[in-house]
C-alpha cells in the first residue's frame, strides 16, 4: 500500500460491518464502521475518510441519500455501494449519483481487493492532477495577487513591464481590490526591490502630520519636534513610495508634492536646506479623480504628474471567475492559521459566493472566509455558513469620517444660506476653522 488509507463501512447489519472491518484491518487500512447514514456523517465530520463502503438499503437515510451528501460535502471521499443481487438498477443509479464502484454481495474476496486497487489508482491520478493543478495555480498567482480571469492575467502581464520603467503609476480601483499588493509587486519586480517600499495612507493622516511624515522636520520646528527627523521621502531613497488614497490629499499638499516630483528635492519642515531625493511614486485611489478635478478638489497638473501610467484593478464582481481560486486560497490560509481542518466548500456555497456583489471586494471575501472558518463546526463550509452575507439589497459604501463631516457642514451651510457666523455657531466651531474646512474640502463648489 502506498499510503495508509482510511476506510469506513456503513451498514445496518452488524455481521457485514464486522466482516469488512476484519478484512480491512488485516489489509492494513485504518478502518471504522457506522450503523447508519447519520452516524457515518457524524464520524466523517470529525475524521476524514478516503473510502466509504455503503450499503444501499438502510433504514432512515439510505445508501443513495448518504452517497449524495458525501459527494456534495466531501467530494474527495470515494464511495463504494454495496448492494444485494437483484438490485442492479439501484447500483446503476448509485453510479450515476457519483459512486466510484459497486459490489454485489456476496462477492469474491478478490473483487474487494480489485476495487481497492482501482481506488488507489484513482487517488494516484488525482494526486498527480492536484500537483499539476497546484503548478497551474502558481501561474494564476503573481506575488500574492490571485486571479485567473482575463483582466487579472492582463495585470500580471503588465506588472513586469511597468516595473521596468521609472514612471509614476496611478492605481485605481474600489476599496479592497488589492491596489497595495499590485504596488508591492511593481516594487518587487523593479530594480528598486533592494531598497525600501513605504506605504502611506494619505486619507488616515491629518494634513499637518502628513507634511511632517513625508518631508521630515527640524528639531524645534513645532511643539513636540524634540529632535530632527527624516521624512519618508528621505527614508525611501532609491525605493518606491506608495501613496494610498491620494484623492484625499489637500490642495495645499498637492502643490508641495508636485514641487517634490518636479524638483526631486525636499526641504524638511522648519529647515531651509534642500535635500536631493530619488524614489519611484506609485499612487492609488478609489475616487474618480477626473470628477475631483472638475469639482476643483484635485489639481489637474498634479494628476498628470502622478498618472503617467494608469492601471485599473477591476472589482471582484467583474471577475467572478477568480472567486473559487480566492476561496481556496483563503480557506487554506485560515485553516492553517486557525488550525481547524476546514478544507472543503460545497458547490452551493461557491454559487452563493459568486452571486454576492462583494462591495468590499477581495478584502471582504477574505474576511467572510475567515469568519466562516472560525465559526465552522465541520470540515466543509456550507451556504448557511455565509448567511451573514445579505444579497437582498446591495450595501451602500460606508462613507469616511471626513465625507460625513463634509456632508454635514454642507447641509448646515445650505440651511443657513451660507451665513458663516450662524453655521459656525450651529457646528460648535469657530469661524476660522469653518473657513479652513470649506477651503480644504472645496465646499464652495458644492454650494446648492
Amino acid at each position: 500500500m502506498d499510503e495508509k488509507m482510511s476506510v469506513m463501512v456503513v451498514d445496518d447489519e452488524k455481521i457485514v460491518r464486522e466482516s469488512l472491518f476484519f478484512w480491512f484491518e488485516k489489509a492494513g487500512y485504518t478502518v471504522d464502521t457506522a450503523a447508519s447514514g447519520f452516524e457515518a456523517l457524524e464520524k466523517i465530520e470529525t475524521y476524514p475518510f478516503d473510502i466509504m463502503f455503503v450499503d444501499i438499503k438502510m433504514p432512515g437515510m439510505d445508501g443513495i441519500q448518504l452517497l449524495e451528501r458525501i459527494k456534495t460535502d466531501y467530494p474527495d471521499t470515494a464511495v463504494i455501494i454495496i448492494t444485494a443481487y437483484g438490485s442492479i438498477e439501484s447500483a446503476i443509479h448509485a453510479m450515476k449519483a457519483g459512486a466510484s464502484d459497486y459490489l454485489l454481495k456476496p462477492f469474491k474476496p478478490k473483487y474487494l481487493s480489485l476495487v481497492m486497487e482501482k481506488i488507489m489508482q484513482q487517488r494516484r491520478l488525482r494526486s498527480e492532477y492536484n500537483y499539476l493543478k497546484a503548478r497551474l495555480e502558481k501561474i494564476s498567482r503573481f506575488d500574492n495577487i490571485i486571479g485567473q480571469s482575463p483582466p487579472m492575467i492582463k495585470i500580471f502581464e503588465l506588472i513586469p513591464e511597468i516595473a521596468a520603467s521609472d514612471a509614476s503609476v496611478l492605481l485605481t480601483g474600489e476599496t479592497g481590490t488589492g491596489k497595495e499588493l499590485v504596488a508591492k509587486a511593481i516594487h518587487a519586480k523593479s530594480t528598486r526591490s533592494q531598497h525600501p517600499f513605504i506605504a502611506i495612507n494619505c486619507g488616515s493622516i491629518p494634513d499637518t502630520l502628513l507634511e511632517s511624515e513625508l518631508f521630515g522636520h527640524k528639531k524645534g520646528s513645532f511643539t513636540g519636534a524634540t529632535h530632527t527627523r527624516k521624512g519618508y521621502f528621505e527614508v525611501v531613497t532609491g525605493g518606491t513610495l506608495f501613496l494610498d488614497e491620494i484623492g484625499e490629499i489637500s490642495p495645499k499638499m498637492q502643490i508641495d508634492l508636485l514641487r517634490v516630483l518636479e524638483e526631486k528635492t525636499i526641504t524638511r519642515v522648519g529647515s531651509s536646506e534642500s535635500i536631493p531625493i530619488e524614489f519611484r511614486l506609485v499612487s492609488a485611489t478609489r475616487k474618480n479623480l477626473q470628477e475631483a478635478i472638475s469639482s476643483g478638489t484635485f489639481r489637474e497638473d498634479f494628476y498628470y504628474r502622478v498618472n503617467v501610467i494608469h492601471l485599473h484593478i477591476p472589482p471582484l464582481r467583474d471577475r467572478k471567475k477568480d472567486i473559487p481560486l480566492l476561496v481556496q486560497h483563503f480557506l487554506k490560509k485560515y485553516s492553517q492559521e486557525t488550525a481547524k481542518h476546514v478544507d472543503h466548500v460545497t458547490q452551493n456555497t461557491l454559487t452563493r459566493l459568486k452571486q454576492y456583489p462583494w462591495p468590499g471586494n477581495v478584502r471582504e471575501l477574505e474576511n467572510a472566509i475567515e469568519r466562516a472558518v472560525v465559526l465552522s463546526k465541520s470540515r466543509t463550509l456550507r451556504s448557511e455558513d455565509f448567511s451573514f452575507l445579505s444579497t437582498d439589497a446591495p450595501r451602500k459604501k460606508t462613507p469616511s469620517l471626513r465625507e460625513v463631516e463634509q456632508q454635514y457642514i454642507l447641509e448646515v451651510l445650505d440651511g443657513c444660506e451660507w451665513n458663516i457666523t450662524q453655521a459656525a455657531k450651529i457646528l460648535g466651531i469657530n469661524r476660522v476653522t469653518l473657513h479652513k474646512k470649506i477651503d480644504r474640502d472645496g465646499l464652495r463648489n458644492l454650494k446648492r
Binding site: 469488512l20 489489509a27 456476496p106 462477492f107 469474491k108
Partner: protein, 181 residues
Amino acid sequence: MRKDRPHIGLIPFGGTPDIVPKVIAAHISAYLDLHAIFLDPMANPSYALDKQRLQYDVGAILEHLESGSFRSVDKVMGILDVDLFVPVFTHVFGEARQKGRAALISIFRLRKKPMDTIDVSAVALERAAKVALHELCHLFGLTHCENDRCLMHFSGSLSDLDQGSFNLCRYCKRFFEDAVS
C-alpha cells in the same frame, strides 16, 4: 527451535484428511520456526452451517474456538474440509482476526476438484500450508503486504495462491520476529 517460541495448536475438524494437519505442522516449524502441536480433533461445526448457503460461517467457528480453553498453546488453528464463508464474501480459503487467538483454514476450495474428497493432491497441500501460514501471521499482527513475493500478499484466487510465496519479505519477517519474541 527455542522452547520460548510460541506454540500453535492444530485442531482437525470432522473428516479432514490426516495428511493436511501434518503438512501444515511441518510448514509452521520450517518456515516460521514455531512449535506446532496436535490437539484433539473436533466434530464438523454444525452450529455454523448456513442452511441457505450450505456453507459454514467462519465467524461462528472462530468465536467457538476463541472461547475454548487451550492452555498448552498460544494460538490455535482449526483445519476443516468444509466450504467456509464470511457474510459479504462468496467464500474464504481461511480466516483469522488480526492479533486474535484462533485461525481457520479449509482444504475444501483448495483442491483441483472441489468435490473430490478422497484425493488431496500435493498442490492442494501446498496451498493449504500457504493459507495456514498467512492466517497465522495475521494472528501475530501482520497485515497484507504490497510485495507479491511475500507470504502476506493477499491472494484472492487459487492462481494467486499458487504464484505466492511461503516466505515473508524482509520487512514482514522483521515485524513477525518482533511480534513472536
